[in-house]
Symmetry: C2
Subunit: 113 residues, 2 copies
Amino acid sequence: MAKHYLDLSLLFHALADPTRRSILTRLAETPARVTDLAGPTGLRLPTVMRHLSVLEEAGLITTSKDGRIRTCAIVPEALDPVRTWLDEQRAIWEARLDRLDAFVMNVMKESKE
Amino acid sequence: MAKHYLDLSLLFHALADPTRRSILTRLAETPARVTDLAGPTGLRLPTVMRHLSVLEEAGLITTSKDGRIRTCAIVPEALDPVRTWLDEQRAIWEARLDRLDAFVMNVMKESKE
DNA sequence: GCGATAGTTAGCGATATGGCTAAGCATTAT
DNA sequence: ATAATGCTTAGCCATATCGCTAACTATCGC
């Protein structure tokens, strides 16, 4: 069905840029043309293009070209691997409540410095 | 209570590296010394140090030094902003079910190429 | 004190990132 | 047919990233 899960590193990297996150949020409203996306960012077209290709390679958006217009749209399931990873981590992290003890110990040690 | 939320960009960037994610997973088991963390990675100490400082600046871990030993521990709440952002996005993305129509239209257009 | 251990700092090299301009190409409008 | 529009490509610049080695500092064990 999909191979959007490409790679967590690609996903996280794509999400690490505020411009790209704003593009995603903008695309969440409705699909848009490249020029439409460039407008709000204040960036030049080639720069936006690069961001779009990063997003596309991460599987976060799809684009299609009709005539001279390229339309971009989000791929909602693309965030699933991120969510899954977060859930896994939370499970592990919370499972170790005694981690708190170690944390407190560290804080105590730190206060000795 | 905390100011760990520093910045989504810092968080995503920190999570974008597989070595750093593996360090986090390792730390989820139990706090560890720098050398302990370096072992499994196969990387040199200074390299690991750099990863640790990225993680610490993102608020994902805390470290404290006792004698010559630095102990690292995860900061579980640090992932909260990421989770919050994901939840927000999912809410927006799913709210626009008609996005599906647009997506289908794009696919149809694409198939014309 | 002396050596081993744990971490740190400084700095190098290769590559990636994020911005730009300039120029090109394809499509649409006149 | 020509001009305007929308995107794309090529390439430049500055900075950041990720790995390393070498050398330094600070403990700890004896």
